[in-house]
């Protein structure tokens, strides 16, 4: 029995040695691709204008790191670095918030104007004449959607721009509607979150006014910082 056990142990040892060498070879062969994929994944988390720089810089960091495991550890750390970098670096496109809001408003205005033109040919000529402006607006708005999907467009700041335009242009129905919609939605959300506390209506109203003033002040200073 002891002999059989010893033979089995020896066979198992040989198999483990053979396969571990095979596994180690596989690991070594796949490691550069794995590390490259990790860097690519990290870089994708960064702002577009930072990607080329960090892709090359991080490839060189990995290149300088000895050992396959070491390279992988550095690579995994870069995922964390990319996440942190995407949070600390200001978005250079954020100053475009005003352009985004204006483009969206002009888009609405343009639609309203087209509806007023009675003939199809008139509508066609209007569209043709305003095509460059339309393309420019569409580009800005598409970019804004992409930024908001990537959570890089601060909606509070964007709404602050809308509120500012609403106070500057009291006769503009589109901006006025957006401003009112935003304020109503914000207040509804606040009331919902405060519902559990069963506050007196006057106390709640005062709290909402305070929170609104605080939100607007924070958004204004954030916009000012971004415009520096």
């Amino acid at each position: 029995m002891d002999l059989i056990g010893a033979i089995l142990a020896a066979i198992a040892g040989i198999l483990v040695t053979a396969f571990s060498k095979q596994l180690a070879d596989e690991f070594k062969a796949w490691m550069p691709r794995l590390v490259a994929a990790v860097i690519q994944c990290a870089v994708r988390r960064l702002r577009e204008d930072q990607r080329d720089r960090y892709a090359e810089e991080w490839r060189s960091h990995i290149d300088e790191t000895p050992g396959e495991i070491g390279k992988l550890i550095v690579g995994l750390g870069l995922l964390l670095a990319a996440w942190k970098l995407s949070r600390i670096t200001p978005n250079p496109r954020a100053p475009q918030i005003e352009n985004i809001v204006i483009a969206m408003r002009d888009q609405e205005r343009s639609k309203a104007l087209i509806e007023k033109i009675p003939s199809k040919s008139g509508k066609f000529i209007f569209r043709l004449m305003t095509l460059p402006a339309l393309l420019k607006r569409s580009h800005i708005i598409n970019e804004a959607f992409q930024l908001s999907e990537q959570k890089r467009l601060n909606m509070n700041e964007m709404n602050e721009v809308i509120l500012r335009l609403a106070s500057e242009e009291p006769g503009d129905p589109i901006i006025q509607k957006w401003a009112a919609d935003f304020e109503n939605a914000w207040e509804k959300g606040y009331r919902k979150s405060a519902a559990e506390r069963n506050l007196e209506p006057s106390v709640l109203a005062a709290e909402i006014a305070d929170a609104r003033a605080r939100r607007r002040s924070e958004a204004r200073s954030a916009i000012a910082r971004r415009m520096d």
């Binding site: 810089e57 490839r59 060189s60 960091h61 790191t65 995994l76 750390g77 964390l80 970098l85 670096t89």
Partner: protein, 101 residues
């Protein structure tokens, strides 16, 4: 230029590495000198660069000539040296007070 960076122990290590280096250092070299993980190091380098305490540039040789990716080299600026010295002075003062209490 932004405001002051947060003076964490890791930030001080990175400042120390660049202050004590005669020339420019790559991210990997700073990582080795400070023993900081890449996930901590690069956000600190970015913050210090953002506030103007550090500057960085690419190696001048092309990657084809080097046979490897170019390194990004960091160096501390005059503003960085001034602010880092002020920080060390503050820290020394604080540690001195701590020793006497």
């Amino acid at each position: 230029m932004g405001s002051e960076p947060r003076m964490s122990a890791q930030t001080i290590k990175v400042l120390g590495a660049l202050m004590s280096s005669p020339g420019e250092l790559s991210g990997a070299e700073i990582g080795r000198a400070t023993k900081l993980a890449s996930g901590t190091l690069y956000p600190i380098l970015a913050r210090l660069e953002q506030v103007g305490w550090f500057e960085s540039r690419w190696e001048s040789e092309r990657p084809q000539v080097l046979g490897r990716p170019r390194r990004r080299l960091y160096r501390i600026t005059a503003v960085g040296i001034r602010n880092a010295r002020a920080t060390y002075k503050d820290l020394q003062g604080a540690l001195g007070r701590l020793a006497w209490t």
